[in-house]
Symmetry: C2
Subunit: 170 residues, 2 copies
């Protein structure tokens, strides 16, 4: 499986992983949500190599997650800011942070707290059902094929040597 293929798989999670499923991309996005906008800002905050940073930013722009906006002429310079598509990644970021807060903190406690301006309190993100509003538990969720199915997701992997089949069919 090449990583380009991931973006075209009939599985929403695989497609998302194809877009943001690598370590540097995720860390770059963390910085974006913390209001970092410029090349040097990302580079010095993360310690990522300039080579990779340039590459990843280009990819995020190409995918419509970041927009490249000029902030200065002569020499031309740009800022990278989240599009709506990028902002929509927020629940993913919060879910990642929350799991870390729950399972990876040391004795000192959480490095960062989140305050909800709307109600004024420090909070945890909770994932709920859009229909009934109850918190979601994995055990209470049943998945079934949708209109765009034909998904590897719906297969319990019978016994066919998938990866092979394509090649040996000749």
């Amino acid at each position: 499986m090449k990583w380009k293929e991931l973006e075209e798989e009939p599985c929403s999670m695989a497609r998302t992983i194809g877009v943001i499923g690598d370590r540097w991309t995720l860390l770059i996005l963390r910085e974006c949500f913390l209001r970092t906008r410029r090349f040097e800002g990302f580079q010095s905050a993360l310690g990522i190599t300039r080579h990779l940073l340039a590459e990843r930013l280009k990819k995020l722009v190409r995918l419509g997650i970041l927009r490249r906006i000029p902030y200065q002429e002569a020499p031309k310079r740009h800022e990278y800011i989240l599009t709506q598509k990028g902002l929509d990644l927020y629940p993913i970021m919060m879910a990642l942070v929350h799991w870390g807060d729950t399972h990876m903190v040391d004795e000192r406690g959480r490095p960062l707290l989140h305050q909800h301006r709307t109600c004024g309190k420090d909070f945890d993100p909770v994932i709920v059902c859009s229909e009934c509003g109850e918190p979601l538990l994995a055990k209470e969720v049943h998945t079934h094929p949708g209109p765009g199915a034909q998904s590897p997701l719906t297969v319990a992997a019978p016994d066919k040597p998938k990866a092979k089949a394509r090649r040996s069919a000749a």
Copy 2:
């Protein structure tokens, strides 16, 4: 930055990324939530190389996300099942799926639908504030240092060559 270091950074998101922030690990976890439990199951469903699969499973077990349970003697064989720590990754998975459903579907629509047994309806996951129950918007959230702070997260990256500092201090 080495990837081992990530798990020790004072940032919950970085730590989480250190654990599950690579493509294959995320896909393996997807399979776990779809009830895949055995080596061959993962391998044929994903097309991952056996080498990497063995490595990743070992890591997930070491980190307490999967438990390795014998299901047969002679020859000894094991199943990999999610621990509670692993099950707690569910919101991350749902958030990934939902973003893909929103931004990466083709004209045919979603490959997979999710039904909430509790209320019987197909749903979307919604992330809400634990305190007031309102859906969370990035703009309404303010982050501030917590007890375990000292975080790179709270720094807007002044101009120090971070990665260097540690080494050259000698």
